[in-house]
C-alpha cells in the first residue's frame, strides 16, 4: 500500500506542477482578456464593471484598421510564399543528394536562430540599399525569410514519414515526375502543407521586431501596439492583445489538428508529428 500512496503523491505533485506552469503562462493573457472588458481607465482591482467601450474605441480607430489590414495582407502573402519555398526546400532535401547539401540545409534552417534585432537591422540595411524598405512588401520579404524554415521543417517531417518507394512506384505506374508530384507527393503532404500555411501565418501575424525595422509607415498591428504603449497606457491594448492572441491560437491549433490527424498514414508514423512541431511553433 505504501508504494501505492507515494505514487499518488507524485501524481498529484506533477499535476500541480503542470497546472502552475499553465497558470504562469496564461495568467497575463487571461488578465489582459479580463481587463479588456473592464470599464476602468487603469488596470486595477477590484474591477470597475463590464463594458465594451474599449472594443468600440478600437473599432472606431482607423489607424488600427490600417494596421490590421497590413497585418492580414502580409500574413496571407507570407504564408503562401513561405510554404511554397519551404515545401520546395523540404522536397529537395528528400529527393536529391548533391555536393554541399549539408551546407544548404544548415543555411535553410538558419533564419530562426538569428536574433530578431540583428535580422531586423540587417533586413532594413539590405532592403533600403535596394530601395525596397518602408513598404508592405518589405515586411513580406522579411517575414518570408523568417517563416520559410518553419514551413520546411513541417514538410520535411511529413516527407520523412513517406515510404521512399512511393514516388518511384508512381513513376513505375506511368506518372511522369510532374504527375507524381501532383498526384502522390502533394496529396501525401497535404496536411503538412496546410499546417505550414497556418503556422507561418501565425508567425507573421504577431511578429514585431523585424516588422518594426522594415515597415516604415506601413505598420503592422504589433508595431502599432508599441506605438500606443509609448504614448499612453490604454485598455485598448488589452483589446488588441486579446484579438491577436485568439487569431494566432486559432491558427496554431488548426495546424496542430491537421498534423495530429492520421490522414490515412500508418499509425506508427504520425505520433511523432505533434511533439516535433511543438518545438518550432512560436
Amino acid at each position: 500500500m505504501n508504494s501505492f500512496n507515494s505514487n499518488r503523491l507524485i501524481d498529484w505533485a506533477l499535476k500541480l506542477y503542470v497546472l502552475l506552469s499553465f497558470g504562469f503562462i496564461f495568467a497575463p493573457i487571461a488578465a489582459s482578456f479580463v481587463f479588456s472588458f473592464n470599464v476602468d481607465r487603469f488596470p486595477s482591482l477590484p474591477l470597475g464593471g463590464f463594458s465594451m467601450i474599449w472594443y468600440e474605441a478600437v473599432w472606431a480607430d482607423p489607424l488600427i484598421w490600417e494596421g490590421l489590414r497590413n497585418t492580414l495582407i502580409a500574413g496571407v502573402v507570407v504564408s503562401a510564399l513561405a510554404t511554397a519555398i519551404g515545401f520546395g526546400a523540404a522536397y529537395t532535401d528528400f529527393r536529391y543528394k548533391f555536393f554541399g547539401k549539408s551546407v544548404y540545409m544548415a543555411l535553410a534552417l538558419l533564419p530562426p536562430t538569428i536574433p530578431v534585432v540583428i535580422l531586423g537591422l540587417a533586413m532594413l540595411a539590405f532592403l533600403s540599399n535596394i530601395s525596397l524598405s518602408g513598404a508592405i512588401y518589405s515586411v513580406i520579404i522579411a517575414h518570408v525569410v523568417m517563416c520559410a524554415p518553419f514551413a520546411m521543417a513541417i514538410c520535411r517531417l511529413r516527407l520523412s514519414q513517406m515510404d521512399p518507394s512511393l514516388e518511384a512506384a508512381a513513376w513505375n505506374l506511368g506518372a511522369s515526375e510532374w504527375m507524381a508530384m501532383r498526384h502522390v507527393i502533394i496529396p501525401f503532404c497535404k496536411p503538412a502543407i496546410f499546417a505550414a500555411l497556418f503556422i507561418t501565418m501565425a508567425v507573421s501575424f504577431d511578429e514585431f521586431a523585424v516588422a518594426w525595422f522594415v515597415s516604415g509607415l506601413n505598420e503592422t498591428l504589433p508595431v502599432k501596439v508599441l506605438g500606443f504603449l509609448q504614448g499612453q497606457v490604454s485598455p485598448r491594448i488589452n483589446v488588441i492583445g486579446t484579438f491577436v492572441f485568439i487569431a494566432s491560437m486559432t491558427l496554431v491549433v488548426l495546424a496542430q489538428i491537421l498534423l495530429m490527424r492520421r490522414s490515412g498514414t500508418p499509425a506508427t508514423t504520425s505520433a511523432a508529428a505533434p511533439a516535433d512541431i511543438g518545438v518550432v511553433t512560436p
Partner: protein, 364 residues
Amino acid sequence: MTDQALVVFDGVAKRFGNFVAVEKLNLEIRKGEFLAIMGSSGCGKTTTLRMLAGLEAPSEGEIRLDGKRINDLPTWNRDTPMVWQSLALFPFLTVRENVEFSLRMRGADKAARRRRVDKWLERMQITEFADRNVAHLSGGQRQRVALARSLVTEPQILLLDEPLSALDAHLKVRMQSVLSNLQRELGITFVYVTHSQSEAFSMADRVVIMSRGRIEQIGNPQEIYRAPRTKFVAEFLGSSNIFAGEVSNVSEAAVKISTPAGEFDVVPNAAKPLSKGNKATFVVSDDRLHLSNRPPEDRLNRLQASVVGEEFVGATAVIHLEGAERIEIKVQKSHDELEQLNLEPGAQVWVSWRPDATHILPGE
C-alpha cells in the same frame, strides 16, 4: 511457354561510384516464363530488376524489351510494373483509386477505367474492399491490391521485388500459389527477385542465382538443386557437403580425388573433363550420406568423424560432424535412424556415401 526472348540484358553493368552492383550481365528472359532471381542481399538482383523497370540507368550495355533498346526510355513510358517489397500502396487513396492509378496516369477514359478496375478487383477478390482505405486492409489483402494495381494495364511483364517477405509463413505459401496460378493463367512473364530459396524453387520455371553482381548459375530448380555449378551455389543452397582436392587417378568409371579428408571415388561429370593433377571440387547432398558405428563396405566412400552436435529440423535432424583437418560435414537423417546410433558429442562415427551420390562442380 515459348522460348522467344522478351527481355535481353546484353553486357549490362551498373556501378554506383566505385561500387560495382552488377557486372557485365548477359541474360535472356523468355516470353511467358516465371523467372526468379535469387541471391543474398547486395548481390545485384534488385539492381537488375530496377534497371529493367527503368528506375536505374545501366552504366554499360544494352537492355532490350521486345527487341527494342529501352536504356533511355523513362520508367513511366515502359509498362514494366513492379510489385514492391513495401508494396508502396498510396495511403491516401482507396483500394479502387490505387488500382486505377496507372490507367488514370495514362489517360484512359472514365468508362474504360471503371471496366478494367472492376475486372481486376473481381479477379483478385478484393471487390468488397473497393472503397476502403488501403491502411485498413490485412497483409494478404494489401498484397492483392498491389498485384491488381500492377496488372490493371495488362502488361506483358510483371516485376516482383520480394513481395512476400513481410508475410507470415502460412500466408506466404498461400500467396505463392496465388502468384504461380496467376502467372500460368495470364501467360505473361514474371520476374521475381527473392533471397528465399523456397519461394524461388517452388514458383519459378527458371532460377538465376547471383553473387557479387554476377550470375553464378541459371537453370530450372531441379537442375540447380541436383547439379550446382559453383561452390557458391552449393553453399547458398545450404544442404551440400563440399570437398575440394586434386585428381589423383582417372579411369572410365570413376575419378579419384584426393582431399584433406581422404581420397574419394567420384563419378565423372561430362561438363568438367578432368585429368590427373587437376584441382576439383565435388559435393554430396546431406541426405545422401550414411552414418554407422561400424566400418562400412570398402566400395563406398568413407571417412571417420567426430560428432559436434545435433540440430533439430522437424521431421529430420541434421548431425554436424568434424572430420580430419577440421572438415565440417553435415548429415540429414530421420529421428528413427538416429536412434540406432551412438551420437554423443565427441563420439567417433563412420560417414559413407556411394560414388554416384557425388557431383563434381563444373564451375570450380
